[in-house]
Amino acid sequence: MKSRLILILTTILFITSCKQDHSINKIVGKRNSITDSLQTNKDIEAFIKPYRQSVNRDLDSVIAYSVNTIAKTDGELNTAIGNFMADAVLEMANPVFNKRTTKDIDMVILNHGGIRSIISEGNITSRTAYEVMPFDNSVVVTTMKGQQVKDMLDFLATKKRAHPISNLKLTLNNDYSINSALIAGVEIDYSKTYHVATNDYLYNGGSRMHFLKTKDTLYDLDYKIRNLLIDYFKKIDTLKPTIDDRFIRLKD
């Protein structure tokens, strides 16, 4: 009796569920390009203008020059743009860290996904730093023991992505197993602790780099990566990073 009632109920439900008034006869899909062949809407443009002027006044002074167009897609396990970012963090953050702790940063790790734009050949402005690093992340230095360093190397080897690194030289075999790993040109000593600079997003579990969050001391340098890049651009004048052998896989 009960099951019969359910049957009737579901039948009614089924019938009413088909009560849509219309059915789809034809679907046409297309993609419209937004290009300069479209007119600019005057009202929208006028609305944006005061915001743009205010921001531009701040951002458009030239601070360096890029020799090439560099992108995070231009390399297998290390890229010119990633190498520049990781090297910039080491160069600019270490004096701050050293002044506060009298210690040195041993190496840097960032994430490939955190490079948010290419850098085009030509003038570099503060705007370039905003495009590459739009997020308000800042530099932190974490203290890592041997096991955590091992976890980091395994992470890099299994992800097979060009996560930016500096002062670490990681060589993989053809099958992505680790061939050698050096910090500051010296074989890693797993009984030692290392000071690894990264950003607060990654330290807090971003990109699943969980090895960064250790029980040992964390130093928050309170130095935004974007401001660090602006300071770096002003210091170097000409940007010409290259793809090198800091993170590679051996062929055969």
Partner: protein, 305 residues
């Protein structure tokens, strides 16, 4: 434009059989079709101005003021248009860093966006930063799998919204990506992420059976497909494992689809999945043509992409 067009006749055999004596009347049939236009963007990431002429990759492309012109002309041609965004409205140019999303929401309101879902980067100024900008948005947000009960967004974000356009009822629900590991906990706070597949099944049932929608759309920020991790929920996985969804508009992976992907759902019916890359370089457009049910003898849908 030498984009290859192809016709996909679904349930082809059934359509042929069913059409038997209808071939002549099918001419006037076209005139009574009701057309609904769905326009969509995703991952605009605060790209308000066009890329400059010197940009290494997207020179002279994009720009909100140009998008406005295009949207206006499409709306003029068909007033029965919905304009949707699949999330990551925030973060990517200094406009966001200086104004916190105010300009993005104000412009989207001027362009008369109807609805948006929430991307992971929309939490970049914290859930409080997103909440603070809501008064600037004259459009609604939907998310069915984020539970905001214990956050400031509680009651401000609905699971779905329905629209009536020219007698056609359209239901749109939102889905967001898992935030843990992607967004700092201190930013998303007590937002709870629920399984998108289970939620989508609930939503499509509610929208079809209770709300009697003629068209069901999922606004997703799950990502198109994860080739190296196919077990991660993505738009293609969602399309295959659910039913009664007609269109999934996606985001997050910045996937530039030249044309919508046609997938089979769990009932073997077609689902369209579309995504238009990022930064407002493109505006997606899907036109649905509806016929009254009594006119409809054959259950066939022609898809032209």
């Amino acid at each position: 434009m030498n984009r290859r067009k192809f016709l996909q006749q679904t349930t082809a055999a059934g359509a042929l059989v069913g059409l038997g004596g209808l071939t002549l009347s099918s001419f006037k049939h076209d005139n009574i079709l009701k057309r609904i236009t769905i326009l969509h963007t995703n991952d605009v990431h605060s790209h308000i101005d066009p890329f400059s002429a010197s940009d290494g990759r997207n020179a002279n492309k994009g720009g909100v003021a140009r998008r406005a012109t295009l949207i206006e002309s499409i709306r003029k041609e068909n007033p029965n248009t919905l304009l949707l965004d699949a999330g990551d409205i925030f973060q990517g140019t200094p406009y966001f860093n200086y104004y916190g999303g105010e300009l993005e929401f104000k412009l989207m309101s001027m362009l008369k966006y109807d609805l948006a879902t929430i991307g992971n980067h929309d939490f970049d100024n914290g859930i409080d930063g997103l909440y603070a900008q809501l008064p600037n948005a004259k459009f609604d947000f939907v998310s069915a799998n984020y539970d905001f009960k214990n956050t400031v967004l509680d009651t401000h974000v609905k699971p779905y919204k329905t629209f009536n356009k020219n007698g056609i009822k359209i239901g749109v629900f939102g889905l967001g990506i898992e935030l843990e590991g992607l967004v700092g906990k201190k930013l998303y706070k007590e937002t709870v992420y629920n399984n998108p597949i289970e939620i989508a099944q609930d939503m499509s049932r509610i929208l079809k059976e209770e709300q009697k929608c003629d068209l069901i759309i999922c606004l997703s920020h799950l990502g198109y497909y994860y080739k190296n991790n196919p077990e991660i929920v993505s738009d293609l996985v969602l399309a295959r494992q659910t039913k009664d969804i007609d269109l999934i508009i996606g985001g997050h992976t910045h996937t530039f689809l030249p044309k919508p992907t046609i997938e089979k759902n769990s009932k073997g019916e077609n689902v369209l999945v579309n995504q238009v890359g990022c930064y407002g370089l493109y505006l997606g457009q899907i036109d649905f043509y509806f016929s009254p049910n009594e006119e409809k003898k054959a259950k066939g849908t022609t898809i032209i992409v």
